[in-house]
């Protein structure tokens, strides 16, 4: 009896060891060939699900209106709101939490088309309304996922570019009238005002009293001064007030500072997953650190530039834009939450490619985009470009930086004539006679290898961008 009891224990131990052996083999197999034939580790890794859960909580932080502008219907004055303004935040909250979702889920209202503003965007925005603009048109699928809309099949919209909120139209106080512009057509929507939203009377009051608000500086439509201007929506400042703008200090995060002793930390922070071993080495010229295996290559450069490439990026199904966007946001969120602080990252543009989607993001500091100027050809570009398909991120170009005020600020005139005569024509005399303005804005530019971002005028002129360093009062 006693002997059989020992044998029984031995058998149990043997079975346990065998199971452990199979388990160990599975780990090794999965490390060597991730995901084939079944995602062994994924079944066990609970953190993956947590990440996906978290992205729903933070995905709203990755997109915002490029501009929210109030028009009181008088002449051509408009009042753009700063992102820090309470009214901006309230209007954007209504859109993000409620109105955008309804636009995606609902059918648009039928319009007679007899009124000019129902099919002419420029006529529409000259009325009393609040205009919300995205930097570039956003696809319906992306908005659907970002807002948590359930069904987008009823909507004829393909993209959303601009929205005009016209609170005067409907007499029903529980609904608001929106005109949605996709860049070609205008669609009318009646959306329900939620319990936590701004009331319709608040919208009307905001429009009616904006002229008396000393914290909001008016802008003029340039076409009202010069009717031959090609872009009738172009807004410029005609007053001579000045704005204080700080230079910014952009640094590589301390956690991933580029040096020999920090290799493990860099790998820990930047690698997509930590299954399997990778070859780790410095490049021959010592400018970047490489982690690679048969499927992917990570390069991290001394200036904070992070380059990830999946070797089979042109294989596989690209899927829906929202599936790829989710992968891209998870990739950013998993790194930024540990490394980057004090700056927002906003989706700027989505490009559809044959095998994947390209998502372009910008750093946005106090409402101003921060662009990077590369050293070789002086091109000014967005700081983050991520290519992804439905399964994974396949290519990343990302300048990983932390942001803070630098040691210097100045007061800058935003007046159109100061810009046009004293800067643009002074530096580009050829534009004195034939300028075709498409857009004028103020952004930060930081050299690729530099640490100081300074304010620049960005002008889309004659179909090409020009960047002019702003001249402060103290210069």
């Amino acid at each position: 009896m006693r002997v059989s009891n020992v044998e029984y224990k031995k058998s149990i131990l043997m079975i346990f060891l065998l199971l452990l052996c199979v388990f160990q083999m599975g780990i090794l197999w999965s490390e060597k060939n991730p995901g084939i034939p079944f995602p062994f580790i994924n079944q066990l890794s609970f953190w993956k699900n947590n990440e996906e859960h978290n992205i729903d909580e933070v995905k709203n932080n990755y997109y915002s209106a490029n501009a929210i502008i109030l028009s009181d219907g008088k002449e051509d004055l408009c009042w753009p709101l700063e992102p820090s303004h309470n009214l901006y935040r309230s209007i954007w909250k209504d859109l993000q939490n409620n109105y955008l979702r309804q636009i995606i889920e609902k059918k648009p209202e039928l319009t007679s088309g007899e009124k000019l503003y129902e099919h002419d965007w420029y006529s529409l925005i000259k009325m009393k309304c609040i205009i919300v603009e995205f930097k570039n048109p956003l696809p319906k699928g992306a908005i659907k996922w970002l807002t948590g809309a359930k069904d987008a099949s009823a909507s004829p919209l393909k993209e959303i570019y601009k929205i005009a909120i016209v609170p005067y139209e409907s007499i029903n106080n529980t609904e608001n009238t929106l005109y949605v512009y996709d860049g070609v057509n205008i669609y009318k929507y009646l959306v329900n005002i939620g319990s936590g939203d701004m009331k319709k009377s608040d919208y009307i009051k905001a429009i009616e009293t904006i002229e008396d608000n000393d914290n909001v500086f008016p802008m003029n439509r340039l076409s009202s001064y010069y009717p031959s201007i090609k872009n009738p929506e172009l807004l410029v400042r005609m007053d001579y007030s000045e704005k204080r703008i700080w230079d910014l200090l952009l640094k590589t995060p301390n956690e991933i500072d580029f040096n020999d002793e920090n290799v493990d930390m860099i790998e820990e922070y930047l690698r997509e997953d930590h299954r399997g071993s990778m070859i780790t080495k410095f490049s021959e010229d010592g400018t970047n650190l490489i982690f690679s295996d048969e499927q992917q290559v990570y390069r991290y450069y001394f200036n904070g530039f992070f380059d990830y490439q999946y070797r089979n990026k042109n294989n596989g199904d690209k899927g829906l834009v929202e599936e790829a966007l989710e992968k891209a946001l998870i990739f950013i969120e998993n790194r930024r939450k540990k490394l980057i602080d004090g700056v927002e990252i906003h989706l700027n543009k989505i490009n559809e490619k044959p095998y994947y989607y390209e998502f372009i993001f910008d750093y946005v500091f106090e409402g101003m985009e921060v662009k990077i100027q590369d050293r070789r050809n002086q091109n000014v570009q967005s700081a983050i470009t991520i290519c992804a398909n439905r399964d994974r991120v396949v290519d990343v170009k990302w300048y990983i930086k932390t942001f803070a005020y630098n040691d210097y600020y100045d007061f800058y005139s935003l007046n159109f004539y100061d810009f046009f005569e004293k800067q643009l024509i002074a530096e580009y005399p050829e534009y004195a006679i034939v300028p075709v303005f498409n857009d004028i804005s103020v952004i930060y530019i930081c050299p690729e290898n530099g640490m100081r971002a300074e304010p620049y005028w960005r002008v889309d002129i004659n179909s090409k961008p020009i960047y002019l360093k702003m001249r402060g009062k103290g210069e």
Binding site: S224, Y225, Y226, S228, I433, V434, P435
Partner: protein, 228 residues
């Protein structure tokens, strides 16, 4: 001894060198932004403009005014002929709009023009734009004429004399190249445009709130003088 002498000479030399640099700004002051500034004739500080420059600019303005006056006298039959029609186009998209800068002054207006694409100016040349308003049977020059040599010049600012729907401001705009001001011909180098601006009289609307405020202010004023 030679060393001491050399050292003293060196110190004197350094002081002299330093003095030259520190005195280089002459009588200029430093404004609150730290920029070098000159005291102008009216006592204000203008960064980067010397007294001589101010004198020169004023002389220049006076000379220009004199030229404009002389031109108007010389060409008045051409400038103010009501039947005149011109084909030449130097400026286009003429807009006259109420000035944004002073919202309360209803007679302040801006004239905006765009340089026509066909205009090809030689270096140093420009288009002179003059605006006149019909008044007392004649024409009166409005504001200071502007020089146009870029596509989108600054507004031409002036004050219109007439208010009320029955008194329209009849404006005559004249444009010509500076290089041809002494050889005007209707066909070659002269553009005339007409515009009419009606300034509506502001409504004197009664407001209970503002009348109450006025009453309260009057009361406070009387009280401050201890009349009651």
């Amino acid at each position: 001894m030679a060393k001491k002498l050399f050292f003293m000479l060196l110190v004197i030399g350094l002081i002299a060198g330093g003095a030259v640099v520190s005195m280089a700004t002459g009588d200029k002051g430093v404004n609150f932004d730290g920029a070098l500034a000159e005291i102008t004739l009216n006592g204000t500080l203008v960064p980067g403009v010397s007294v001589e420059d101010v004198q020169y600019i004023e002389d220049d303005i006076q000379e220009e005014e004199y030229i404009y006056k002389k031109m108007i006298e010389e060409y008045d039959s051409l400038f103010f002929d009501k039947n005149i029609q011109t084909d030449k186009v130097y400026i286009k998209d003429i807009v006259i709009k109420k000035s944004d800068s002073k919202k309360d002054v209803i007679q302040d207006y801006d004239l905006l023009v765009t340089l026509d694409d066909s205009v090809n100016l030689e270096y140093g040349d420009f288009i002179i734009v003059m605006a006149f308003v019909e008044k007392d049977g004649g024409y009166e020059l409005l504001g200071t004429p502007i020089k146009v040599f870029i596509k989108y010049p600054k507004p031409y600012k002036f004050e219109l004399p007439f208010v009320g729907e029955e008194q329209p401001n009849r404006i005559r705009i004249i444009a010509f190249p500076k290089s041809s001001y002494d050889q005007f011909t209707l066909e070659d180098n002269f553009q005339v445009e007409h515009k009419e601006v009606i300034i509506r009289e502001p409504k004197q609307s009664f407001s209970i709130r503002s009348s109450l405020i006025n009453t309260r202010e009057s009361f406070n004023f009387v009280k401050s003088w201890e009349i009651i």
